[in-house]
């Protein structure tokens, strides 16, 4: 019994100290933003490796998710003779939920894990320590540009995901299954609201981008500087990001769309 209590106490303490370290890390990162804005080149390089290099996976996944939505939606809607509203169904599910959530999960797997491994290895090979000794703050030079890049890239990638998905739904819906193309687009235009649907989706993806980049960068710089430590940190990034994305999605959905 005492053992269990001891164990519980110890693990609670470790997780709280870790949370404290993570918060401190976030504050340091955010305080580096002004100096990064003065050197936009650093940010552009990171936007390329975090954002542009994720283009392909986001586009292809978006296309397939949209096509599946088109297929599934058509069979359900046609039972009620409502297949004209397929556009609304596809667009609403993408813009509100699947766009932000799935692209954030893909982003955590593609860019988040890469960030953790990169930072962890830089730590293991003393590159961060070396920078400190050269009087260059690694937070400002390495961490903050990557954080900002993640924050900016995520909403754009989510928007791309949704846009490609809607086209995918249209290809299947009107190209293959015979939904009227005009109805697909006009129904969508009439029912999707800019504020309620699109803006809320964008807010979600900004939150996910924030959390994913934070987790990835923190796990990297908190990693034990060995190959095993870096591999564990990379795993933790993907797992923790997925949990946070799905959990936060529930909370945000309840706040935004619950009446």
């Amino acid at each position: 019994m005492i053992r269990i209590l001891q164990y519980l106490g110890k693990s609670t303490r470790t997780s709280f100290t870790k949370l404290g370290r993570a918060t401190y890390f976030l504050l340091q990162t955010v305080s580096g933003i002004p100096s990064v804005l003065l050197r936009p080149r650093l940010l552009l390089n990171q936007l390329y490796s975090v954002g542009v290099l994720s283009f392909l996976i986001i586009t292809i996944s978006g296309l397939f998710v949209g096509m599946v939505l088109g297929l599934q939606g058509y069979y359900t809607l046609s039972d009620f003779g409502a297949e004209e509203t397929l556009g609304v169904m596809v667009a609403a599910s993408l813009v509100r939920e699947l766009g932000p959530v799935v692209s954030a999960l893909l982003f955590a797997g593609r860019a988040g894990s890469a960030l953790t491994a990169e930072i962890g290895l830089m730590k293991a090979t003393e590159q961060l320590s070396g920078m400190e000794m050269m009087a260059v703050d690694p937070i400002k030079r390495i961490i903050t540009p990557r954080f900002l890049a993640g924050l900016l890239a995520m909403p754009l990638l989510a928007a791309l995901f949704s846009a490609v998905g809607i086209i995918g739904g249209q290809i299947i819906g009107s190209g293959l299954l015979g939904v009227d193309e005009g109805a697909y687009w006009s129904q969508m235009q009439a029912s999707i609201d800019f504020h309620d649907d699109i803006l809320n989706g964008v807010i979600k993806s900004i939150v996910f981008g924030f959390v994913t980049s934070w987790i990835a960068l923190f796990e990297g710089s908190d990693a034990i500087p060995t190959s095993e430590g870096v591999s564990r940190a990379t795993t933790r990034t993907v797992v923790n990001s997925a949990f946070s994305i799905l959990g936060l999605d529930f909370i945000l959905t309840a706040l935004m769309f619950g009446e």
Binding site: Q127, M133, M134, A135, V136, D137
Partner: protein
């Protein structure tokens, strides 16, 4: 105090330093002085915290007790910007070289110049080529760090460390894992850089032969204490059993060959236990 005289011209002085990691005591109330313009060496077996001492001098770690002054400034009382200004005048050579792997050799050497000065690219080019020439690797400027051998990486890191013309260079195990030729090159470089540029050098090493060849003064550390100090000659003739074991590399002595364990025969006879 007999060391008050030497601290006049010492660039770095460590006073009553104590440092521990968890339960393990790394330094127990030690005081050292590193003279200006000289090559000083800190020697001792692996795991005695030699690298830790360099990190303490560079202000990356904080001591539990005691103080470290570099050029008259107490490293651990400085504000962040002051510490960074001090670090601009220190060069540190890491064991791994710590080159930035996403940049070419040229960009690595240019890195501190680009970060800390507003020099035009043409002048940076001149400076970089001069530093690379000094370490004999001007021809390797377009290589990436993963294309370099260990010795070359260390020489590039040395070129980077002298890029801002520091007053002092800290060398962390510069000779470990080097073949005889690159070892000779490094020994020669450290010596000549120190004399030509008027630097102060601190070398952390467990390589007895090559370090005593170039060092002016040696401290031998073990178990958190200074067990011997003096010029290489004095160290060689030291009557401390411990220093003798270290310098000659004897397998048994004050530092035991065996890790502490219970009696050998008892251990073998206790049948039935798994460990």
């Amino acid at each position: 105090m007999d060391n008050s005289v030497s601290s006049q011209d010492s660039l770095v002085s460590v006073r009553n330093l104590s440092f521990s990691r968890g339960d393990k005591i790394i330094f127990d109330d030690i005081s050292l002085d590193f003279e200006r313009g000289k090559i000083s060496a800190i020697m001792g077996p692996s795991g005695t915290g030699k690298t830790t001492l360099l990190k303490l001098i560079g202000g990356q770690l904080f001591p539990d007790k005691g103080s470290i002054t570099v050029d008259g400034q107490n490293v651990h009382k400085l504000r962040r910007t002051e510490l960074y200004n001090l670090r601009k005048r220190l060069g540190m050579l890491f064991q791994s070289g710590a080159l930035l792997t996403d940049m070419s050799v040229y960009d690595n050497v240019a890195f501190p110049l680009r970060e800390h000065t507003h020099l035009p690219e043409s002048m940076i080019r001149t400076l970089v080529l001069m530093k690379l020439q000094a370490v004999g690797l001007r021809g390797a400027r377009n290589l990436m760090p993963n294309e370099l051998s260990g010795g070359m990486a260390r020489r590039i890191a040395l070129a980077r460390a002298i890029a801002l013309d520091p007053m002092m260079i800290l060398y962390d195990e510069p000779f470990t894992g080097q073949d005889p030729i690159s070892m000779g090159v490094l020994v020669h470089l450290i010596k000549s850089l120190n004399n030509i540029l008027g630097l102060t050098s601190i070398i952390v090493s467990h390589d007895v032969h090559d370090t005593s060849a170039i060092a002016d003064y040696i401290y031998v550390l073990s178990g958190g204490k200074i067990v011997g100090q003096g010029t290489p000659k004095e160290i060689q003739q030291s009557d401390s059993e411990w220093v003798q074991q270290f310098m000659t590399g004897a397998a048994d002595g004050p530092v035991h060959f065996h890790y502490p364990a219970k009696d050998y025969v008892d251990d073998l006879m206790s049948v039935g236990k798994r460990y």
